[in-house]
Amino acid sequence: MTIQTQCSARSILTRLWSIALLAVVSFLMPATAQATPAFARQFNAKCSMCHAPLPPRLNNLGLTFKRMGYRMPDVDKDGKLVLQDKPSRSLSDNFALIGDIRLESSRGTPTSLSMHEIELVGAGTAGAHLSYAAEVAWEAGEFAMEGYEGQLLFGQPKATFTARFGLINTLLWDKFGHQRLGVARAHLLNRRVPVGSFVGYRPRDMQEGIEFGVNLTQLADGGAMRSTFLSVGVYNGLTPAGNEFGESDDSKDVMAQVLHLWGENHTLGALWYRGKVTDIGTAGFDDTYNRWGLFGNYELHPGTDVLAGFMAGRDDATDDTIARISSRSWFLELNQTIVPRLAAFARYDRFEPRKSVASARRQGPTLGVAYQPIDNLLMTAEYTGQKVGAGTRSRDLVVRAIVIY
């Protein structure tokens, strides 16, 4: 759902006014500070308890809360770690509505203002061992179930065993997937390497499958936690619909991950992925893809966070006429809280497939600011300048307003 016009100063001003009007309407909504997302409502907590520097990016408490099936780590009167469950009074209490409005301007294309999507996002617990999450989106005039999952959790808070299943986000280090600060995702999660007829794998896709995990958590000084999450998952390898070649058949992928969290916000993780997709056409050959990656972030001092990631890939086919393609990608990002509720981010991204597909090489900076004037409203402005292959540098500007209730 997009309105496109010629890129004139007047039209941009009109659209900025629309977003400003929306911001004012949101500001006037009679919501209390705790009354925005579903979890903040349930736990009577501020967004900053689980998000840093701003929502939706999670801090270590938020990552642990999510990993524990939406149960909040807490301490009992003896100082022992417990998982606090706050059952909601009704299912609707566990869901939040999110409206995403964007003003987008790219070199060579008309400026557009669009209602990018409206999402209904929710999660919660159903008893001591079961939790669930679901995400329904209305985008481009259509409804889609973007994700659904169930999770079983057993054991003591300091050592839990989990089984997560459904259409799930496979990444434990979710700082650049759903929980990214700006609009642009890091290339190492978002770029595909096409091999033969296979459009290629990208780590950020939601996948159907099941993941088994072991989570070790202990309390440290100053209310900090040290957690280590280990997981192995088996997935369908592609989006639920497969791709345009019907390559979702006979695809069984394996992913192993480890993520260590310490302090309020430091993380270090690694992943290994191996996938195979069988071409069901006349040729009958297999495409395989492998990835391994390292990623993490370190808060230099409160409000200054450095994030980095590296991923290497090897994509191949049993068809001798198709050459193996190695690839590597990395990013480095700096987040700086300027004042409470206002943060800036700067990232350099590079995605580098082998020379034979040099046209797919991408590199460039992303610069942006994120502002949360009230709990119900998140605004971002972001510039991305990417050089693709030997071509000219693209310049994209996105101003986004997210209304949350």
């Binding site: 500070a33 705790q34 009354a35 409502r41 309390l219 100053g222 209310g223 936690m225 309020e264 209730y405």
Partner: protein, 131 residues
């Protein structure tokens, strides 16, 4: 779908959904006493406080507003040293609070000083009660 029509339909739909949501949601009930603290002043005038206390106020305002309103700590009825010691230690143990032992000591020092200054009457009243 016609894009203009779609936007015209989509924007009111968002407003209606949000408005309906406002009525439908229930928030976890807060103790009325705590709700009243939350609605009180959210800053302390530290202009006349010693320099070290001004620095401690900054730490207190940063650390103690991460999970709940800072107004809750400012307006609550804890004033005695024992009360603050117990409360700060409890917050320090909360996972993710990020209040280290040294931060906790600084915050405690500030709260004890502030109570004796800003809530002097209540401090003396409570002190008499326990003597």
């Amino acid at each position: 779908m016609n894009s203009t029509l779609s936007l015209l339909m989509g924007a009111p739909m968002l407003v209606v959904i949000l408005a309906a949501g406002l009525g439908a949601r229930t928030q976890e009930t807060l103790d009325p006493r705590i709700a009243a603290y939350d609605k009180g002043p959210a800053t302390i005038d530290v202009a006349k406080y010693p320099a070290d206390m001004k620095a401690r106020y900054k730490l207190f305002a940063t650390r103690c507003s991460k999970c709940h309103t800072i107004a809750r700590a400012i307006n609550c009825e804890f004033v005695l040293e024992d009360e603050w010691e117990r409360y700060v230690k409890r917050m320090m143990r909360k996972p993710g609070s990020g209040i280290s032992a040294s931060d906790g000591k600084e915050i405690y020092e500030f709260l004890a000083f502030d109570s004796k200054t800003r809530k002097k009457a209540l401090y003396e009243k409570k002190l008499k009660q326990i003597k």
